[in-house]
């Protein structure tokens, strides 16, 4: 049985800084060496203030926190919209709110907020086999 109800925060909000080294490691793992992530001039030329974090790194980190809270639960789906780019070295704050729960299934809204309080990513992850 799920022990959360709609509107609950799954855990305390968490602030994370994604460093240039984090981005470099993710680029090596994912083989995504797009210059907007790794090279200042290329990022500026593309219209960004400086290098930006891979959206998939933000999406992955967002899920990692939940992975330790629901370690054996099954992810049915996980989707995000990348609304604003995340700059390398910027503080991001993640929040996790229950939006649906039924029997052993739970859907959680994930939001990552930037230092300027704009939303960087917004998404929903759905778990089943949740043992609360």
């Amino acid at each position: 049985m799920v022990s959360f109800t709609v509107g609950d925060y799954i855990c305390a909000n968490e602030s994370v800084i994604i460093s240039a080294n984090d981005v470099k490691k993710y680029a090596e793992t994912s083989k995504d060496f797009n210059a907007i992530h790794l090279d200042f001039q290329s990022a500026v030329k593309a219209g960004f203030e400086r290098e930006i974090v891979h959206g998939m790194l933000v999406m992955g980190i967002a899920e990692s926190r939940l992975s330790t809270i629901f370690p054996t639960s099954v992810v049915v789906s996980y989707e995000t919209k990348f609304i604003q780019p995340v700059l390398v070295g910027e503080v991001l704050t993640f929040s996790y709110v229950v939006i649906e729960e039924e029997l052993d299934t739970i859907a959680i809204k994930i939001e990552a907020t930037k230092e300027n309080e704009n939303t960087a990513i917004i998404g929903v992850i759905q778990f089943t086999e949740v043992r609360g």
């Binding site: 994912s30 959206g55 990692s64 330790t68 370690p71 990348f82």
Partner: protein, 147 residues
């Protein structure tokens, strides 16, 4: 540039190694031991270590997408969705393909914007196991921006 709904890659095979899962989990700061330790995974009832749900994004490395080969402008990731019928564990082998599910072309204020929705499908024994939808946004470079 020429993009058309229905464009599809050749099929390609992906084998998921333990090291792939461990490295990927580390790169996204995931501390769930089920992604790292075989004994922990077996005690929890899994045949091997389990993959984080965003792992299939790595499978793009194995694909050759003709329609993106000539693209010089940066591709921006707009949306991403993973859907699972079966959990991915180390040792799994998948037959995959990527296709263009939807193509939209918009005239922006200064350039043409393409919105390209790709779907990666992973199959075992011809049964669909997962899908990964990747929406990429492409702004065509002006002629004087091309080096």
């Amino acid at each position: 540039m020429h993009f058309k709904t229905g464009m599809v890659s050749d099929s390609f095979t992906v084998k998921v190694d333990r090291q792939d899962i461990q490295n990927f989990a580390r790169s996204i700061k995931n501390r769930n031991q089920l992604h790292y330790d075989l004994e922990t995974a077996k005690k929890a009832g899994f045949p091997d270590i389990i993959a984080p749900p965003t792992l299939p994004i790595l499978f793009w490395q194995n694909a050759k997408l003709d329609w993106l080969e000539q693209v010089e402008a940066p591709l921006i990731h707009g949306e991403q969705k993973f859907t699972y019928i079966k959990r991915i564990v180390a040792g799994d082998i998948y037959k995959c393909r990527i296709f263009l599910k939807d193509v939209m072309k918009k005239q922006g204020s200064t350039s043409v914007i393409w919105i390209l929705k790709h779907v990666l499908e992973g199959y075992q024994n011809e049964r669909l196991c997962f899908t990964s939808e990747t929406t990429l946004i492409l702004r065509e470079l002006d002629e004087n921006e091309v080096e």
